[in-house]
């Protein structure tokens, strides 16, 4: 009798278990994902397991579950999922962050598809380098391929470009900075996260940071940075040094954290001629507030006084004249080949502003002296005087040559070339040379 009771009880337990099995909830489906992925992609699994997501019961399905009607949804061991996780998906929980990212300049980076950079990569390079070289930073258009096992075309996946154009209409990819599957705050707060793209000859922000005092102190005192703090405020949770995130994004005593990286940037240092961004006074004020977590006001004002002058120097002395001459050359149809970037002078002009000019401006912004001068204005000047102008003169066009002559003779910033060196040195010592540049400094 007893035995049969035990058997019945056992059967009931097993029956319940099987019943529960039949009605598998989302949680056990996630458990199934984990079971296999621990074996088949253990690195990914371990990263997740150590993440804040795991600690807060955010599972595979919370990010990857998909409605079967979605274009990139596919069936994977009985569950409908999508490989691609977009800011819209992340925004289900991280609403404010997703909105800020969506409104940021970062989110527009995918528009490069129509810009000069992408044109150059396609004509001078070719599609593979446009995919790997341009779109991996800027973001490409994610193409859904119904034949592919994960419904994504191999030409557009993997892609974690910051302005990725997602099939659900959202822009960007959170994993560009918060690398999957750990999504570590500490990682995104360190300069290497930004250095995934912000480096190299055309925008060496990571290298400039490394040269700067800020970077210098950071790399020395990295372990004092309290990088994984829940709330990370300079002067409060850490004080060793600022990183990219500190100045451009993180919370301060007076400002909230923002995922719109442009909120504290007053100049655009990207185009041939720098301009102030809309609402630039507020943005400059935001940045200065960050600085004052560590510095007193006079130092902060002094830095921006110097920085603004260097930007204007670049604008007035080189960028505007070069742009004018380039316009004239184009207008008069002097170039041999028709297509953009098919003539040497176009590459010369391009490097003047896109490489050398940006290096100078970024170096000035972030206190990298070598980038401001030797990698910066020095290279700009060398290019301007000894490549760009001679190449323009080679066309033998009277109008162009007149413009160049006028610039070199009449412009007080350029008319040093035909004067005796001792006289110029005397002017530098006496300060009269410097007066030429006095109007570049702002009032503040």
């Amino acid at each position: 009798m007893r035995v049969s009771h035990a058997v019945v009880a056992g059967l009931v337990v097993v029956g319940l278990a099987v019943g529960a099995w039949g009605a598998t909830g989302e949680t056990t489906v996630a458990g199934r994902c984990m079971t296999c992925h621990k074996e088949k992609s253990p690195g990914l699994y371990q990263q997740w397991l150590g993440s804040a997501h795991a600690a807060n019961s955010v599972t595979c399905l919370d990010c990857h579950k998909a409605d079967r009607r979605e274009s990139d949804a596919y069936e994977h061991y009985g569950a409908f999922i999508a490989t691609l996780v977009t800011p819209k998906d992340c925004g289900r929980c991280h609403k404010r962050e997703a909105e800020e990212v969506g409104n940021s300049y970062h989110a527009t980076a995918g528009e490069i598809l129509d810009s000069k950079d992408a044109y150059l990569a396609h004509v001078a390079g070719g599609e593979p380098v446009a995919i790997q070289g341009c779109e991996q930073c800027h973001g490409g258009k994610v193409i859904v391929d119904p034949q592919a096992p994960n419904k994504l075309s191999k030409k557009s996946w993997p892609n974690t470009g910051v302005g990725r154009l997602n099939p659900d209409g959202s822009k960007g990819s959170c994993t560009v900075c918060h690398t999957r599957h750990a999504f570590s705050k500490a990682q995104a707060r360190q300069p290497e996260a930004c250095g995934k793209c912000h480096l190299g000859p055309d925008h060496p922000q990571e290298e400039i940071y490394r040269e700067s005092k800020h970077g210098n102190i950071f790399y020395t005192h990295r372990n004092e940075m309290n990088l994984d703090a829940a709330v990370w405020v300079p002067g409060v949770s850490y004080s060793a040094a600022p990183t990219c995130a500190t100045c451009h994004m993180s919370a301060t005593s007076t400002q909230k954290v923002t995922h719109d990286v442009g909120e504290r940037i007053a100049w655009t240092l990207r185009p041939p001629v720098s301009k102030h961004k809309p609402d630039w006074q507020r943005k400059r004020k935001n940045m200065k507030e960050v600085c004052t977590a560590c510095h007193e006001n006079q130092l902060v004002d002094g830095h921006f006084y110097q920085f603004d002058a260097t930007v204007r120097l670049y604008n007035e002395k080189f960028a505007k004249p070069a742009t004018e001459i380039m316009k004239l050359v184009r207008k008069k149809g002097l170039m041999k080949h028709r297509a953009a970037f098919s003539n040497k002078i176009e590459w010369t002009y391009w490097e003047l502003w896109h490489h050398e000019g940006r290096r100078a401006r970024h170096g000035a912004a972030m206190m990298g002296p070598d980038y401001t001068w030797w990698h910066g204005i020095y290279d700009v000047a060398k290019n301007f005087y000894f490549e760009f102008l001679p190449e323009a003169e080679e066309y033998g066009d009277s109008e162009v040559n007149a413009a160049i002559e006028k610039l070199l003779e009449d412009n007080p910033m350029h008319n040093w070339m035909d004067r005796p060196t001792p006289e110029l040195k005397k002017e530098i010592r006496s300060g009269t040379m410097q007066e030429t540049y006095e109007n570049l400094y702002g009032s503040h």
Binding site: A17, T27, C36, S57
Partner: protein, 494 residues
Amino acid sequence: MFRRYLRFVRALSIDLVGRAGVVLVTSSAVVFLLFLLGNLTGVVTNAYVGLLSFMVLPALFVLGLILIPIGWYRTKARTGLSLRELVDRRFGPEELEGGPLGAPLVRMLALMTGLNVLILAIASLAGLHFMDQPQFCGTACHKVMNPEWTVYQQSPHSRVACVECHVGEGVKAHFDAKLNGLRQIWLATFNLYRRPIPTPVHTLRPARETCEKCHWPEKFYGNRLKTIVHYGDDRASTPRYTTLSLKVNTSLEEGGIHWHVARGITVRYASLDDERQEMIWVDVARPDGSHTRYVNRRLDEEPRSEDVRTMDCVDCHNRATHIYETPVGAVEARMRRGEIDRSLPWVKKVAVAALSGSYPSAEAARRGIASNVAAFYRRHDPAVLAGKAAAIDRTVAALQAAWERNVHPYMNLEWGTYPSFLGHRESKGCFRCHNRDLQDETGRWIPDDCTLCHSILAEDASGPFQNLETPGEKDPLRFKKEYLRQEFLHSLAR
């Protein structure tokens, strides 16, 4: 009688050759019988003495028997006498006069012939018996066979003779084996064999004839619980438990692992080469006559006919007997058995580092392992060196033995030379076929779910049944545990 025998053999030794024959026959027979006695009583077991007694001595014996008539033939040719005349000369008339049982010479010849046949019969039988003993296979070609012999003796099949699996049944199998043996003697003598020896996948006996004599398919039913213990690289070498409920049954309905060899199921495959690591296609035929072919979508090679094979035991159990360990596996097994002292700090880490060092010889390995272990403690924890000297010595000895078991420099046999296909830890194992590249025409692949072959009751966990315990609300793995617990209960109820 003895004098008659002496007279007989003296007369038989017609010239130098005949005398040599008689001496050979007599001495080899006597020595053979002595060795046989030694062997039967268990005094002599050495394989080389065995080779001498059962191969060399009988050969000399036969050679002697051949030399005697050659001697007679030579004398006949030299003297020009007839055989009758020679017999008359060599044997006295009293030997040739007929008695009631014929002439004494004829009787002596009959007796000696009977004796010779008897000795040869004994020698052949004893020789065959001797060559069926693992001792012979394992030590006769000792340099070549030493690795396999070493691991065989420590294997689950150490009480099953080599010939049970490697020779097979019947005269032809025996004949083939001996012929192959001759070839191997040739290769060994002139040092023509490859080192390490490639696994003889094409000449292995069919598993149906060998393995299934003891392990027939219907024998596998139910699930088998297995707990694997891994130790951490931390100071305490903390144990971590993985417990699997292996679905080893043969049942067609339940589809357990041994389904592959169930009656009526034929699984065939074509591999890229005889390493059998990469499959070109896999084909399964079912009892109802249906069959499915899964083709590797990443390969477009055509298989060579010798690489098409019907799956049997050894396709998974490729190291059922000659089991080589990995450095980590060797250390963990000895830790679990207590041969490596777990009370030594960092012992797992130290032991694996010492064992996996690259040593050119056993002697170098013995020295290197001892000095590696000592150097670690001298640098990181000198107190252990003095305080736990005995434990260190025991650990070092266990590691040295483990090295000598698994690594054989003469045969170029290193860690990992012969990986096991069981499971999926040492090699791709099951995933050689069970992967998403092998798809049928509808795009379905051979299932590769983790719980297809085993339920997981614990995985690198602090306890052996962690997934069966109720997880905490904050446990990040609670969904996984819940899923695996339900899967296990479901597998039991099936």
